[in-house]
Amino acid sequence: MTCLSKAATIGLKHERKYAIFAAVNSWLKTFAWDFQQLFLFSLRVIRGMVSRKFYISETLEQMYLIGVGSLYLVLLAGAFAGQGFAIAFSNELADFGAKNYLGRIMSIAVVRELGPTLTGLMVAARVSSGITAEIGAMKSSNQLDAMVSFGIDPIQKLAVPRLIALVLMVPALTIACDAIAITGGWIVATLIANMSTAIYWSSMKERLIFGNLFIGLLKPFVFSFFIAFIACYKGFSARGGTKGVGKATTESVVISSITILIVNFFITKLVHSAIRGYL
């Protein structure tokens, strides 16, 4: 009796151990498979982009929806984040008697890091959820198949216009975000830190040099590809009705946000060493 139960416990222990391995294994497999599918999907979108058929009105519509639709959100986020940065920096700099450098620091922090990531995250939250939900709903109601059966490639008709719209609008939104965040810094500089407008702007402009602007625009350009690929892929591969579309939408936002932060780090790291002379 005891012997039996002992054997059972050992068996159970083993099973538990294996269960963990099995879970990790299946998770890794799913991850690798998804990653591969995403990669292949991205290649198809890129191939769709260079094909002859181009849906200009869809692209313009998406540019409007993405650009104008996200502008308020990006401006609001940029204004508050910029002022927050400026307050923190100006206090710190005041301790060293270096308050006049506030403009320089704001310019570097905003143009290189804050503007691109903040805009990327805002667009990931607002736009990638919309794209995944819309395409996923079309998929689950057979609209994508209907499109194919009428001789239209859904990748060209849906994914390519969204990609192009993002590639054009995310950098534009980033510039808007940069501008309002730096302006937010100026408000803090003059009203809270008692700096003169002229000193803030001139020290800010000192750091608006090629290298910084290059990084500041390269980032949103790269982010936009990731947002488009992930959001469209999640929509196209959504399964399991309304619930499946909901799940795909959540995953789309989570994955694109995390990807933006990771890609941001690597761009900062790589580009820094590559164009150090221009920084």
Binding site: A137, M138, N142, Q143, D145, A146, M147, S149, F150, G151
Partner: protein, 256 residues
Amino acid sequence: MIQLENVTFAYDERPILKNVSFSIDETESVVIMGPSGSGKSTILRLIMGLECPQEGKILVDDANICVMNERQKQEVRKRIAMVFQEGALFDSLTVGENVGFYQIEHTRMSRSEIEQNVRQMLGFVGLRADEIIDVLPDQLSGGMRRRVAIGRALLSTNPRVMLYDEPTTGLDPEATEMVLELINKATVERNISTVVVTHQIPDAIALANRFIVIHGGEMVFDGDLDALRVCDEPRVRDFLQPFRESIGKVNQRQFV
């Protein structure tokens, strides 16, 4: 016209269809029946070339669609049109844009010419063009949506085969009657082949006199109503059990 030869199909290693073979002649009407999840929609998707079977062949006019590239499939799809379950209307486009979708995308016809065709087609499917042409699909009733979807498929390329996936599921008796009449009208007036998937036997009887029964991915019956009535294959009897009465009735009507 359409031939399936020993078609075997699986989704992610989960077998859906096993060794299915049948053929459909020019201007023939066939109903595919079976419980839900038995693989009926999958058969239509295979005929459209939206999926590829792991084994077997699907011939459309003697050409194997399974080995074609996307462009060749497009050519085949000009001869076959499919009405998807629930209609699958594009919900960001108006009814008019849905019905004229193919002509807007693929032809250089002027807007007014297309609109004229769309109005004519809406008339054919029994809808008032003036009232609904600029309306979005989600404002239509279920029955109207199905009819718009049928109009969209008919206006695409003058198909010679129409595939309908559960055209009456979820409709009230009146709307069902109208959709069935429309399918018959389209079949007769345009002299085309019709393949209808349904799990409602009264509908099936109203649409064709050849029945294919699919059960768990296997084809368990292929024949006419008389043969269906006397078929003693247990899986067919199981499926037909709830409808015994209506089959009997139609039979009586036929003999009177």
